[in-house]
Symmetry: C2
Subunit: 212 residues, 2 copies
Amino acid sequence: MYNGKKISLAVIRRLPRYYRYLSDLIISGAKRISSKELSERMGITASQIRQDLNCFGGFGQQGYGYNIESLFAEIANILGVNKKFNTIIIGAGNMGQALANYENFVKRGFNLSGIFDVDPELFGKRIKDIVIMDYNKIEEFFRLNQVDIAILTIPYEYTREIADKVARLGVRGIWNFSPMDLKLPYDVEIENVHLSDSLMVLGYKLSSRGNR
Amino acid sequence: MYNGKKISLAVIRRLPRYYRYLSDLIISGAKRISSKELSERMGITASQIRQDLNCFGGFGQQGYGYNIESLFAEIANILGVNKKFNTIIIGAGNMGQALANYENFVKRGFNLSGIFDVDPELFGKRIKDIVIMDYNKIEEFFRLNQVDIAILTIPYEYTREIADKVARLGVRGIWNFSPMDLKLPYDVEIENVHLSDSLMVLGYKLSSRGNR
């Protein structure tokens, strides 16, 4: 059982992946899995898996493998998947609208409560049930609503200013899609998404194996 | 100098990040940096940095740090940033359009040469200079054009079928945005993007520090 011991962020970053694989295994009806089988499915070494999962307790029994449901429940618990977060999106362009439509979102406990933009043509338009609102009225929105997380899908040049504003208005976390490693002088957790990093890895895989 | 030795994918996955930080440093006019300074900027331990960069040669000199330009050039070379890849997007919904507008794309050597969808209302519409085409004519497109990479921004249920098709048509890499760990029985490199993984890490950061 997870004893509250601090787990390194490198391990935490791998947990959503375990979470997805274990979720698929539960749906398939499996009960137990060895680190070797999990390793083959996930493309992570078995010793890495044992090391990762040992960080939060000893679910694996030699020769019996891991109990999938317990492991899944524990990872969900560590990740805080059962928690709910009120979330807003700032920037109702293509990326903002794509995220607003993203189904895994709500499944993971992120309740979308507002979408903001500066383009008057978008005001009043709905994405799913959420209406796009005027960014200039965001302070009012914060007075009336608790907001935990702001998702920023805005042009690079506005990111720092708007991040600063929502931080001062009281968000606890920012999910930033601008190609910038955003840092703020406030007590706000930030996850910077760098889409092109993953594309560069793909480019590496292609160029390292040469042309066919 | 990089001697062609195989570098682990875990290290490769960190290289785009070094690439971004070093690029910023070059713009700022810096010439050399110690692993300690780089560590503070990037939030990676200095020993991890030394270990990573040692994988492809010894640029760092004790007491002098790393030569930023050489290191940057070497990482760009390993990542194959100077290579060009002909890229298409399948799925011209919000995510597809967001990616088509993504500036870092072309900068990193990914030339967008076509966008495909099944919605006739989108056919002929342009995103930047690229016209949206009928997915049902994709075979013709492949006969006339070399395509290295297909970006899939399509609903989950069509992903396997369409990935299979472009693989048979000859793409060398797939960048997959469906929430699925796509695997194919072909010699095709795949990068699966799981946006919600990063959101779950943000959720963890918020729940692990408790409510304020």
